[in-house]
Subunit: 329 residues, 2 copies
Amino acid sequence: MKALVHEGTAGINGLSLRKMEDLEPKSEEVIVRLKTAGLNHRDLFTLDRHKPADPPLIIGSDGAGIVEAVGENVLNIHVGDEVIINPGIGWEDKTNAPPQDFTILGHPFNGTFAEQVIIPAKNTAKKPKHLSWEEAGVLSLSALTAYRAMFTRAKIKPEMKVLIPGIGSGVATFLLQFAKAVGATVYVTSRSEEKCKKAIDLGANKAIDSNEDWDKALDGEKMDLVIESVGAATFTKSLNQVIPGGTVVTFGASAGDVTQINLRTFFYGQLNLLGSTMGSNEEFLEMVKFVETYKIKPIVDRMYPLSEFKQAFRRIESSAQLGKVGLII
Amino acid sequence: MKALVHEGTAGINGLSLRKMEDLEPKSEEVIVRLKTAGLNHRDLFTLDRHKPADPPLIIGSDGAGIVEAVGENVLNIHVGDEVIINPGIGWEDKTNAPPQDFTILGHPFNGTFAEQVIIPAKNTAKKPKHLSWEEAGVLSLSALTAYRAMFTRAKIKPEMKVLIPGIGSGVATFLLQFAKAVGATVYVTSRSEEKCKKAIDLGANKAIDSNEDWDKALDGEKMDLVIESVGAATFTKSLNQVIPGGTVVTFGASAGDVTQINLRTFFYGQLNLLGSTMGSNEEFLEMVKFVETYKIKPIVDRMYPLSEFKQAFRRIESSAQLGKVGLII
């Protein structure tokens, strides 16, 4: 089978398309023949984390396709089923944190940018009928991260006002869609006027320039909830924008890891800061059901044929996208 | 009536004992003749916050005594009742944050370092029989702060391991007693060997030097919960000492307000940082019931006659105490 393999050189230049051995499922595993796969920032990080001396690695976490073979002891999943893959391996229940041996498909184990992938049978969900293969392939990692951050962690309610700084990323667009689906009032920020406009089209109640004074741009309106993935660049602004007793969920730090916090302001405000990443298989199945119930369609920025993987990587590297970038396999 | 009044000069030198007018209760209010009162760091801050040009102020938040007069529409409280005062005025139910008009007795309104105090009738709880007047007078503000931090916010459970950095303060000793009462495993830190020893006597499972490498001193044992009131000096150590998915509650910053936080470490750890201060009247009544049920006795460091108020203030100013410092009125 054909696969996108990383080897030898850090970064995108270490990637090549090549033939790899066909796969055989073991007990409780299935082989999925991939139709589409989704790119995440994680894939970019992997190109640096996977060392030149390490054995060749098929990268990629997100994907959707058709079950091609099932191992022993696999129930309820059959050859020919159309499925979406949960790339989080080893985190079953909705616990406070993943178990120590939790891993994500694509590093250190072979991933989804290939014609075939091998995964535990329970890490699949039936593809909702309203999703195209393109939409199904880019769903998992971002939508699961958004789901845990917004439901398990932030416990969003319809009467809440929610702010989502940095609306460009895949997770951010899912956050916007999920929050609107439950009926919340949603404000977003972006440095890009174009992304602000697209966010309004997607249902955002207001979109402001990230570089502005948020409190002014929002007429002093404070939020019940801020879901923060920008990091150091916006963290203090995010904390300042919540009501007393309000919550900031943080799940990303693309613009800086380390920032200052004023503890006195924080505790006098009775604030909550909650960390989140990815989610369990239980949350994955809930998320797919939620997407199906509310007929949510992932915002697909652009799909590339597998052979154009370099262009796809460059698109997310430059943060030019709004929504998800994917590969057709 | 005699009262400790602040006027004219910032700090302790602005305090004097003098005669003030006797009080009359209005509707839904009671007059309490105080037997004892408790000192808090808040009282020290008040000596600077209350400006020289402001009218004379009777300071003090904590107190216990006997109901001397009741206003109209007061039910269930009678002249002669022995009561503990909740100094938090205007925060009734256990909400996420106090209402905007919430104030604490002793600033800007007259407080408890006096023979009489006037308060809303609902801001009293019957004094539990197992408490002496000394113990009852020093309970309210610290024990309520500890109760909200530990129960409402941290949701402590018997199977939890809890770390309390800086065991000297009144709130910290209540935290230790409350956590032990529910059956948790409790570790404490202090820079004082003597306070470490006293904490062990009070039931702490382990007491370590605050200046040491905590992870070493605790043999790498990680906590479900850290209840943090030291602030910048210990914040990073506290965050480092919790398990994945663990919680740090912060309600004080005696050693610095502003500190750094690594957001990536925070969200990969699925951590929770929860701010807390004081508590509602609902929590006050729960706290007094809890103290009664578990026969908890506040740790009284030292009581001073009202006339020796300067020595009392100096004792908490120098952080020499373990537990509460109080006044006999």
